[in-house]
Structures are given as structure tokens and as C-alpha cells.
């Protein structure tokens, strides 16, 4: 068997699987490393793992973004021993809202936004998800909303940072042949709406 006999569609699919797995691994690593850093307030982390979720979204589409983000939360929790702890549910709620927000924004305004904008929305969604989960699980008192504006303020900046890093990563990756098909959207099932698409 020679490489030239390989079916291009199967190759694309195989590449997607392998790279997503790699993205997940990198995301988990970033997440775990982050938790080792000291922070003034807990839960206030940079969210660098989101770089990989963004990369998956841009290269492979919304489904892939879900894969990376949910797997990262799960595996990260397993590694850190926090599965099903309150913090785990906060992170999961944050990830759910963040990923949903990012995918919606990507679909709706992907042409007019860069990864930075998408990431900022994702960060806001993450903050909102965590506050909602905290309200339900940790503090059954509406007063928790007092923390939200300050929380949101800081997450916008971390969102810009991760978005910028993701943009840089995407630029580098797209130059490599392994990602060519992904970059042109042939491997993705979703891409931003173009004006010439039939509706």
C-alpha cells in the first residue's frame, strides 16, 4: 500500500480525529498548569485552554468545539480529582454557556469578528455560566449577583488575551499543509454564512 492510494476524505477525517485529540490534550495541559498558578481570587483564571476550543471551532466547526471543550472539562476534572465537586459543576456550566455563545456568534457574525471577539463572548458566557451555577448550587441567595459585574469585567480581558493567542495559533496552523483542507472548510460541517450561500 502506498500513500497515494489513500482516499482523501478518509485522510481528512483521520487527521481531524488525531488533531482534535491533540487539541484536547493540550487544552487539558493548559488547564491543569493554570490551576497551579496562584490567583488573587479563585476561579478567576485566564482560561488559556479556550485557545484550543477556538482553534477547533475555526478549523473543524462547532461540533469539534464541543468535543474539545467538554472533554477538557471532564478530563481536567478527572486529573485534578475534582469530578462532580461544586467547582466541577461551575466549570461545566461555564463551559456549556461559553461554547454555546461562541458557536452562535461564529455562525451569526463570524465574518465580522475575529477570534478575539468570539473569545470575548465566550469568556462572558463562561462567567455567566459560573455565576448561574453558583447561584443554584453554592449560595441560594440572590446576593451573588453582586460579584458578577466585576467578574465580567476581568473575563473580558482574559477573553481578549486567549482570542489573540488563538488567532496567532490559527495563523501558524493554516500555513501547514496538514490543515489546508480544514482551513478551507471542507472538513468542517459549519462555517460562517457567506452572502452568496443559498438560504
Amino acid at each position: 500500500m502506498t500513500c497515494s492510494a489513500v482516499d482523501p476524505v478518509a485522510l481528512t477525517r483521520a487527521r481531524r480525529q488525531v488533531f482534535l485529540a491533540l487539541f484536547i490534550a493540550i487544552a487539558v495541559t493548559l488547564h491543569v498548569l493554570e490551576t497551579l498558578l496562584p490567583t488573587p481570587v479563585p476561579w478567576l483564571r485566564l482560561g488559556l485552554a479556550n485557545i484550543m476550543t477556538l482553534a477547533a471551532l475555526y478549523l473543524y466547526g462547532g461540533r469539534a468545539a464541543w468535543t474539545v471543550s467538554l472533554a477538557r472539562v471532564g478530563v481536567g476534572a478527572l486529573l485534578l480529582g475534582r469530578l462532580f465537586s461544586p467547582g466541577f459543576w461551575l466549570a461545566t456550566a461555564g463551559a456549556l454557556l461559553a461554547t454555546s455563545a461562541m458557536i452562535i456568534m461564529y455562525r451569526v457574525a463570524g465574518r465580522r469578528l475575529s477570534p478575539i471577539g468570539i473569545s470575548a463572548i465566550g469568556a462572558a458566557g463562561h462567567a455567566l455560566g459560573q455565576i448561574l451555577a453558583a447561584r443554584l448550587l453554592v449560595m441560594q441567595h440572590a446576593a451573588i449577583w453582586q460579584i458578577f459585574p466585576l467578574f465580567l469585567f476581568f473575563t473580558v480581558f482574559s477573553g481578549i488575551l486567549t482570542g489573540w493567542l488563538a488567532a496567532g495559533l490559527l495563523e501558524q496552523l493554516r500555513q501547514h499543509p496538514a490543515f489546508q483542507s480544514a482551513a478551507t472548510g471542507q472538513g468542517a460541517r459549519m462555517r460562517p454564512l457567506q452572502l452568496k450561500d443559498p438560504l
Partner: protein, 128 residues
């Protein structure tokens, strides 16, 4: 690698400014709340303790993890000791404005400042 400003599009700026605007509005709204007059301590869903802000006092509250100490003085109310691991509650500093919050989440203690005067009757029922 391009700088963030080179990457950001007009749409990005809209999003970022919108989010910052929302959060700043919220922050200002909370920071300009009037000085509170009463400290309320809540554990879980129940109010455990209330006291006015004017009188200096020190109180120890029990929670699932152990004890948390609250001190009320002329700076407001703050948590001075707690049996949680990270002591974030202690680092939160004094609270004195209406709506301010202090919390020791692991020990399930939530401290709020509110301003009940003029909004409610001095008592619910009269014993005679």
C-alpha cells in the same frame, strides 16, 4: 505575530466595548450604593444573625468547616479569621455599603449589608 489591535476587527471592538460597558455599569451601580446600616449573616438559606453597623462587636459563627469570626468596627464589617483553606474571605476586606458582600464559601457563610430602616415596620407583631 500580529498585535491584538491588528487582529481585532470593527465587530470585535463593538463586542468588547459592549461587554465592558455592561460590566462597568454594574460595578458603578453597586459601588454607589448608599452606606448600609445593618449586617446580615446568611448560612445556606437561613438568616443566622443580624446586627447594626454602628455598634462595634465581634462574633464567631459556626459552619460546616468550623468557625468564622466577624468583626464590626468603624470601617464596617470584615472577616478576620476563618477555618477555610484559602482564606479568601479574610482578604476581602471591610464591607460597609448597602449590597456589599463578604463570603466564606467553603464554610457557607454569607455576609450582606443592607439598609432596612424606613423600609419596614420596626416589628412584625405586638405582644400585649
Amino acid at each position: 505575530m500580529k498585535t491584538p489591535w491588528q487582529v481585532m476587527t470593527g465587530g470585535d471592538w463593538l463586542v468588547v466595548l459592549f461587554l465592558l460597558g455592561v460590566s462597568l455599569t454594574g460595578i458603578i451601580w453597586i459601588a454607589t450604593a448608599p452606606a448600609g446600616s445593618r449586617v446580615v449573616v446568611i448560612s445556606g438559606e437561613q438568616v443566622r444573625f443580624t446586627a447594626p453597623l454602628g455598634q462595634p462587636r465581634s462574633v464567631v459563627l459556626d459552619g460546616p468547616l468550623g468557625q468564622t469570626r466577624l468583626v464590626i468596627d468603624d470601617q464596617g464589617v470584615r472577616i478576620t479569621e476563618s477555618s477555610c483553606r484559602q482564606k479568601i474571605c479574610v482578604a476581602m476586606g471591610p464591607a460597609s455599603h448597602t449590597g456589599d458582600l463578604l463570603a466564606c464559601v467553603p464554610n457557607r457563610i454569607l455576609v450582606r449589608i443592607d439598609n432596612p430602616d424606613g423600609k419596614e415596620a420596626p416589628y412584625d407583631l405586638l405582644s400585649r
